[in-house]
């Protein structure tokens, strides 16, 4: 290693017009010339230093180091991905290379590494090559990094898959307005529109992930105005100097790709490295490596960042759909109807004779109408040619009414996402069913059940991955798998005057199927449905769904049966700690014609943030044989 360095040293010194380099190089490698072993030891120990490890994204496992970055462009030494020492030597050489193309010099391309090397070797900056880093300086000037905010777009209402979430950083400048800051976003560079292919490639790392720098308002418009996701902003206590270092490291990662894995090496995990680069004492990624967790859930990283003492403040930025709902809630039914009619061009925005005392109401009506028109346009329910004149005509009338008296922007802040239960859940309990008493042990690595407490989650949304349920039957002393559902998603999105979403569900896996002979073999099952949901009084969500189910097992006469039917239910938050779900369904199966009637009443009591009790009761009839069942279980969230 050292030998290679000395070889290169000759090359550096021999470069024309770099006389000043001679001294610095000489001094730097003097030790190398006199005591190879000592110098090698110094490089070795420096290459193990925290900052170097962080800047190169090394993960140490025993004596082995592997960088998480997959792009060879990120490394100067051929074996840099696995050899911190070789990479440090190569970087040192590159630092001393004479300038050929300004912006491509090591100091311009890897400024955080360069700064660190200069400081640990105590080099005289002025004696080093001085490239003019035009592009880097322009970026630093324009971004003007002063502060860093962690941004978390919450799930959108009817897309439980988005519950998994995303995080990005907002780099604040000397502007006061958050809209004028820059966003640092890590995302997979995907081009596939095929959902399954997208999921497959995402899970197995076939997409290159890139960091991107863009105006924050662009991300805000995407999330708030197009995807209708509320946004949480966590102000971090990074100093301006730390924020600058974060930008420098972000710069080093520009156009550097890493294989993007949805579950672990995802946006949220990669951002942890930027924060570590800003403050190398932080050990944020380590936690995820140590616990060997299957995935990194964005909201978990918020909790880690909070535990590291970085979060000082939280701001809630409601999405447009949330603002529309809030504005509608401030008006009476008549006002809402008029706002809707104005937005839909059924009534003119202008009222010729408006009594003075109804001006404020009219302002709120027009504000709501304008937002709703904008919403419809973002949903592509309105073509641009219709949107423009309609939007402008409402605004024109609105502007003549002067400033509003009520600050409708003051939307009540919901519970913060990380205030909710942890995503993993393990339950232990017991119950009784047709076959007699049993003990039940269930496990679910992620994410949120319809009955789990809603704080921090979307009400009416359920997304469970890899939910496993086992039972031990006491009388038969038989331990067995009861069900395993890799995917179980339910989205109940309430409809009102302004929003008419379709509620839906899909789940599949294996579960016990009670047959005519009262045996209960395991069967492959797939269930899906679509329907409507409404907000009812007393914090209740009612729904009606049409659903279909496919069951497959060799114990069925034709190996497979297909059923169709309806379900109706209501889920209610009776008390902040008490949720109840009442539902009924009937499905008729073919080819062996029979019906499956089901009635269930499930309740969940929240004990602490990380524990609760679930009580389930159900009655069902299948092949004209009915059965009652009840289970009680204690839940721990982890």
């Amino acid at each position: 290693m050292v030998f290679r360095c000395r070889q290169k040293k000759g090359k550096v010194c021999g470069a024309p017009g770099a006389a000043y380099l001679f001294f610095i190089t000489l001094s730097l490698f003097a030790a190398v010339a006199t005591a190879d072993a000592g110098a090698a030891e110094e490089v070795r120990s420096l290459s193990r230093e925290r900052t170097w490890q962080v800047l190169m994204h090394y993960r140490q496992q025993g004596d082995r180091f592997t960088s998480l970055i997959d792009d060879p462009k990120f490394f100067l030494a051929p074996q840099g991905k696995t050899d911190p020492q070789a990479e440090l030597n190569a970087s040192l050489e590159a630092l001393l290379l004479p300038v050929e193309i300004d912006d491509e010099h090591f100091r311009c391309r890897f400024p955080a590494r360069a700064e660190w090397l200069i400081s640990v070797y105590n080099l005289n900056d002025l004696a080093l090559p001085q490239p003019h880093c035009g592009k880097l300086n322009e970026t630093l000037t324009s971004v003007d990094p002063r502060s860093v905010v962690l941004v978390f777009p919450a799930a959108h209402n009817n897309g439980p898959a988005s519950m998994f979430g995303h995080t990005l950083l907002r780099v604040g400048s000397s502007y006061k307005s958050p809209l004028l800051s820059a966003a640092v976003n890590y995302a997979a560079n995907d081009t596939d529109s095929n959902g399954l292919l997208y999921a497959f490639k995402g899970i197995f790392g076939f997409y290159p992930g890139y960091f991107a720098l863009l105006p924050y308002y662009e991300k805000l418009n995407d999330y708030s105005g197009v995807e209708h996701r509320d946004i949480w902003e966590y102000t971090l206590n990074l100093s301006p100097e730390e924020s600058r270092r974060l930008m420098l490291h972000t710069w080093e990662l520009q156009s550097i790709s890493s294989d993007y894995y949805f579950f672990d090496e995802n946006c949220s995990f990669m951002l942890l490295f930027l924060l570590e680069a800003a403050r190398p004492e932080l050990r944020l990624a380590q936690e995820y490596w140590e616990r060997r967790s299957f995935w990194v859930i964005p909201v978990d990283t918020i909790a880690s960042i909070r535990r590291a003492g970085l979060i000082t403040d939280v701001t809630y930025r409601p999405a447009q759909a949330t603002r529309i709902r809030h504005r509608a809630s401030l008006l009476n039914e008549q006002g809402r109807q008029r706002a809707f009619a104005v937005a839909m061009q059924q009534e003119p925005a202008h009222v010729p004779t408006l009594p003075q005392n109804s001006r404020e109401e009219e302002r709120q009506i027009l504000d709501l109408a304008a937002e709703y028109v904008q919403y419809r346009y973002s949903r592509q329910e309105l073509p641009a040619e219709e949107f423009r004149p309609q939007f402008l005509s409402i605004l024109k009338v609105r502007s003549q009414l002067g400033p509003g008296e009520v600050d409708v922007e003051q939307i009540p802040t919901p519970e913060q996402p990380e205030a909710g239960h942890e995503a993993g859940r393990i339950s232990f309990g017991g119950g009784n069913e047709g076959h007699g008493p049993f003990l039940e042990l269930s496990w679910r690595p992620a994410y949120h059940d319809l009955l789990d407490p809603d704080e921090g989650y979307t009400q009416g949304a359920q997304i469970n991955f890899f939910a496993l349920k086992t039972r031990y039957r006491l009388d038969e002393e038989d331990f067995r798998l009861q069900s395993f559902r890799p995917v179980d998603i339910l989205s109940l999105a309430p409809r009102d005057l302004f929003f008419q979403p379709i509620s839906w569900k899909v789940n599949f896996g294996i579960e016990r199927l009670r047959l005519a002979d009262e045996s209960e073999p395991l069967a492959f099952t797939l269930n899906t449905g679509g329907g409507l949901a409404w907000e009812l009084p007393a914090k209740t969500l009612g729904y009606l769904m049409v659903e279909g189910q496919v069951n497959a097992t060799d114990r069925l006469r034709e190996n497979v049966e297909i059923g169709g039917g309806v379900s109706i239910g209501a889920i209610s938050r009776l008390h902040p700690r008490w949720k109840a779900h009442l539902a009924a369904s009937v499905l008729t199966y073919l080819p062996e014609r029979h019906s499956h009637y089901r009635l269930l009443f499930d309740q969940n009591f929240k004990v602490t943030r990380l524990s609760g009790i679930t009580i389930r009761t159900n009655w069902e009839e299948r092949y004209h044989q009915s059965q009652l069942g009840a289970t009680a279980a204690y839940n721990w969230y982890f």
Binding site: Y175, K176, L179, A370, F391, P403, G404
Partner: protein, 152 residues
Amino acid sequence: MKKLLVTTCLTVVAVAMASTSFAASYGAAGCGLGSVLFKDQPGPIQVVAATTNGISGNQTFGITSGTLNCGAPLYASNNQINNFVAENMDTLARDIAQGQGATLTAFAELLQIPAAEQGEFANKLQANFDKVFTSDQVVMADVIDNTVSVIN
């Protein structure tokens, strides 16, 4: 009411974030250049629109994010204002009509309106909404120029 042209100064300030090779590659596509010249001094705000130099500035309502692709100089003052208005035109119009909002506040800050005068700025724009948004085909450059003439 001294109107001061500070073109040269602006050019110096306009250290653009020249199309960085960050992954979200922005092509150098039509960004307006509504040129705004201003000088802070006590009393009424002095903002003068010199000209919009006609090359582009043609973004109108209904720009959804990502379609504009204004990338090259991302954060230079002039282009920053242009891009901001172009990409946030709908919400800016709504905020102006309502007389308040985050987008209007950011716009005021970009125009270097002192915090104490932002209320007056908002009121003026609201009262003159149809002078700023003259038609549903109004383009970004006009919005900036109209704003500047309304508040002077």
